[in-house]
């Protein structure tokens, strides 16, 4: 017995002192991610979590300019758009090589898009490509010469450039796709600042410096992405030195990091909108006054400050302020005014009405849906509306809400994150976007003026003119109030003080090229 105990103690001591406790090696950045990536094939994935790795491995023809959602050249040096807005000619950067040594050229661009869009392409079966519809307006892609590639669109589609800047438009190495086939997502090859080194499932994805990067090699020698799904564990790893940088910090922990000088906290508003879909077809919300009343009745400041603990800003309309070129901030949020709300409700004869309120238990971009719903319910109660909450698990929720609220509910929570001001209103506010027509207009909002403006904004290729059109949309929709506009989420991140040169991007992507670690 004594011997056994002694052996046990010896083992314990060995285990404790044996390997060095979590110390991150110099010049390698360790990033705490929220989940294991599904794949590193840019056309095959849909999650921001995966995009955060991808943008460091691959480049697109264009990209979002640092700190904005404006498009700037990347692998394409410049481009021309035909007057009718249907032909885009890209002039490519010369002398760029993929990380496997094969040359980047017009053929590679054509290959990337044909693989995703052309069912007869021999590599179409390396999919599926869930977000291929981003480019459904593309008719043909032609390699005019080695350094010129021409996209012909079926119809004018102004968001095309923004969609190209999205990770779904990143350019893959044709040679690598041909070599690995369906497993390309586990052997990714692009032209980016970092090249893929290792993927240890559920433990880490390692990317290392690409010394031949056309924009000059990055400072860091390597980046390690660790999947840590539990937010509290992620915080613990940050505190114990197991990671250098983490995204999506729980609001509760944010203040703790802010007070500690060993850490740096980053916050940036993103192109995100949290709103309530109101059923404009039937029930109390078929009256515009009641819809406006709800917008007045909800204390958005209290929601943002108390429930979300300052991790969001108050939303004014369907187009987030992060799209600075399409939202000049002239449309202000509905103020908190319960008296005015009561007045409107009385005028509409909706006092004491009971509302069915669909609430999600969680879900992408949904923030704290149950707590928020409870606060909203209390606000509505104060102005004489009884909201009955029905909660659903996220997938079930989507299956309930996306087909439309008719006959089921009066209001439903929803959140969207987009890369172009077109996306959300076009898919969720047009008459032709009703659920039975394949859209997301689950509250059946319909205003011919908005339809016309949104269509026009797709055809105009001049960005300033587009911006003006979206500002008009913002104004009309704000007034029509088909939704209750609640919050724009601020994304956040925390790093150790040793990390320099890191900035959050409004696109929610994670560009690590210029980051250093001291």
């Amino acid at each position: 017995m004594r011997k056994l105990l002694a052996a046990a103690f010896a083992l314990c001591a060995l285990v404790m002192v044996g390997p060095a406790t979590a110390q991150t090696p110099p010049n390698a950045l360790i990033v705490g991610q929220i989940a294991e990536p599904k794949s590193l094939d840019p056309q095959a994935v849909t999650a921001t979590n995966d995009f955060r790795i991808l943008v460091n491995l691959y480049d697109g023809l264009v990209r979002f300019k640092k700190g904005t959602l404006e498009v700037e050249p990347d692998l394409a040096k410049s481009w021309d758009i035909s007057d009718d807005g249907t032909t885009y000619t890209f002039h490519l950067r010369e002398g760029v090589k993929f990380q496997d040594g094969t040359p980047f050229n017009a053929e590679a661009v054509k290959f990337t898009f044909d693989r995703m869009l052309d069912k007869t392409n021999p590599y179409y079966d390396t999919g599926p490509f869930p977000l291929a519809f981003f480019f459904s307006q593309v008719d043909t892609v032609t390699a005019k010469d080695d350094n010129t590639v021409v996209f012909k669109l079926k119809e004018p589609f102004a968001p095309f450039l923004s969609n190209l800047a999205y990770p779904t438009g990143l350019i893959v190495s044709p040679a690598a796709v041909k070599q690995y086939g369906k497993d390309f997502g586990r052997h990714p090859v692009g032209t980016g600042a970092f090249k893929f080194a290792e993927w240890d499932p559920n433990t880490k994805v390692v990317v290392t410096r690409n010394p031949d990067y056309w924009g000059g090699p990055p400072q860091l020698e390597a980046v390690v992405f660790r999947p840590i799904t539990d937010a509290n564990t992620r915080v613990a790893e940050m505190l114990s030195g197991g990671i250098d940088l983490m995204v999506e910090v729980p609001p509760d922990s944010l203040s703790q990091f802010k007070q500690n000088s060993s850490f740096k906290v980053y916050e940036a508003a993103g192109p995100h909108l949290w709103f309530l879909i109101l059923n404009t077809k039937e029930g109390p919300f078929s009256d515009k006054r009641v819809r406006q009343a709800v917008n007045y009745a909800i204390d958005k400041k209290a929601l943002v400050d108390n429930v979300l603990q300052g991790t969001a800003t108050i939303a004014a309309g369907p187009i987030p302020r992060a799209f600075a070129w399409a939202n000049d901030g002239s449309v202000k949020p509905y103020p908190y005014d319960p008296e005015k709300a009561k007045e409107l409700i009385r005028a509409a004869g909706a006092e004491g009405k009971t509302l069915t309120f669909y609430v999600a238990e969680g879900g992408s971009g949904m923030l704290d849906p149950v707590a928020m719903a409870t606060a909203i319910q209390a606000d509505l109660k104060k102005v004489g509306l009884n909201a009955r909450i029905q909660t659903y698990e996220w997938n079930t929720y989507l299956a309930n809400v996306n087909p439309g609220l008719k006959g089921k509910a009066d209001m439903a929570e929803m959140a969207w994150m987009t890369n172009d001001p077109d996306t959300l209103p076009f898919l969720a506010l047009r008459t032709d976007a009703a659920p039975d027509k394949g859209g997301f207009n689950s509250g059946y909002y319909s205003n011919p003026d908005v339809d016309k403006l949104l269509d026009e904004a797709r055809r105009v290729t001049d960005r300033n003119k587009r911006g003006e059109l979206y500002e008009k949309v913002q104004k009309i929709v704000h007034d029509d109030a088909p939704w209750a506009f609640i919050a724009n989420w601020k994304q956040n991140a925390v790093s150790t003080a040793a990390v320099k040169g890191f900035e959050l991007e409004p696109s929610f992507l994670l560009n690590l090229k210029d980051v250093t670690k001291e």
Binding site: I30, P128, P130, I228, N395, G438, F440
Partner: protein, 314 residues
Amino acid sequence: MTATVAKRLLTAIPVLFGLSIIVFLMIALIPGDPATAILGSYATPENVARLNASLGLDQSLPQQYLAWITGVLHGDFGRSYALNRPVIDIVLERFSATLLLAGASLLLATVFGLLAGIVSAVRQFGLADKVITLIVLIGISMPSFWLGLLLILFFAVKIRLFPASGMVAIYGGGGPLDILHHLVLPAVTLALVATGVIARLTRTAMLEVLRQDYIRTARAKGLTERRVVYRHAFKAALVSIIPVIGIQAGFVLGGAVYVETVFQWPGIGAMLVNAISQRDILLVQGGVLVVAAAYVLFNLLADICQTLLDPRLK
């Protein structure tokens, strides 16, 4: 003996088969589908239909099940929609991690549970008994995910003795010592409840045996107390403790879900939770089948041990 084992193994086949149908139906009947999960905000009916077709989910349910079971009988468990990898690779890789965690916990729970139970019984109503009973009660009542977070806060954040999460060090990890270093906190967390249960049952079983006449006889013969307790009483009590350990083996496998999530242990519990929320039906099927088979096997092992210990059961 061999015949009994063979018979038990054969009866497991219809159990697993029935289970696979139930799991398949359950996943198919709850709303939402893989395409909706993959597309998230972009899940328009049109996009969902297109993606479901390319995933082969536009076939009827019996067709889908038939395709799956035919594959399984040929050793092909299909490909995960969400992770785009062969199911069998993911499941085996994850299950071995769970087995390590659950095995270590069960070992800890058995050793400490038995010791605590014996000491408690021998020193009934003494100070040791009271202290152990109190600790055991706390252990049984404490939710494992909460305990896990507390352990992380103290041992990883405060005194930095053990890593907060993961199974191997990010750099230069993977050796047995490194894995053991990572294993300590999750294994202790997972073991706590099982230890409590085993300790309580051991105490009861031992008290019962210690009151028997043959124990008095043994003591009267002048045997040392240690010999009486361990050789005579404990061996007899073990017969009723073994099935409990068998049940606890199943329990630690199931409880691993929380612990794996908190400690980011790359096991099958955390995998199943993700797979269900993604409606990743083939991965769920593969995972459940392996876990169920393990349950059957553990219970069989416990029964065999019991039979070996207690000649009456033969």
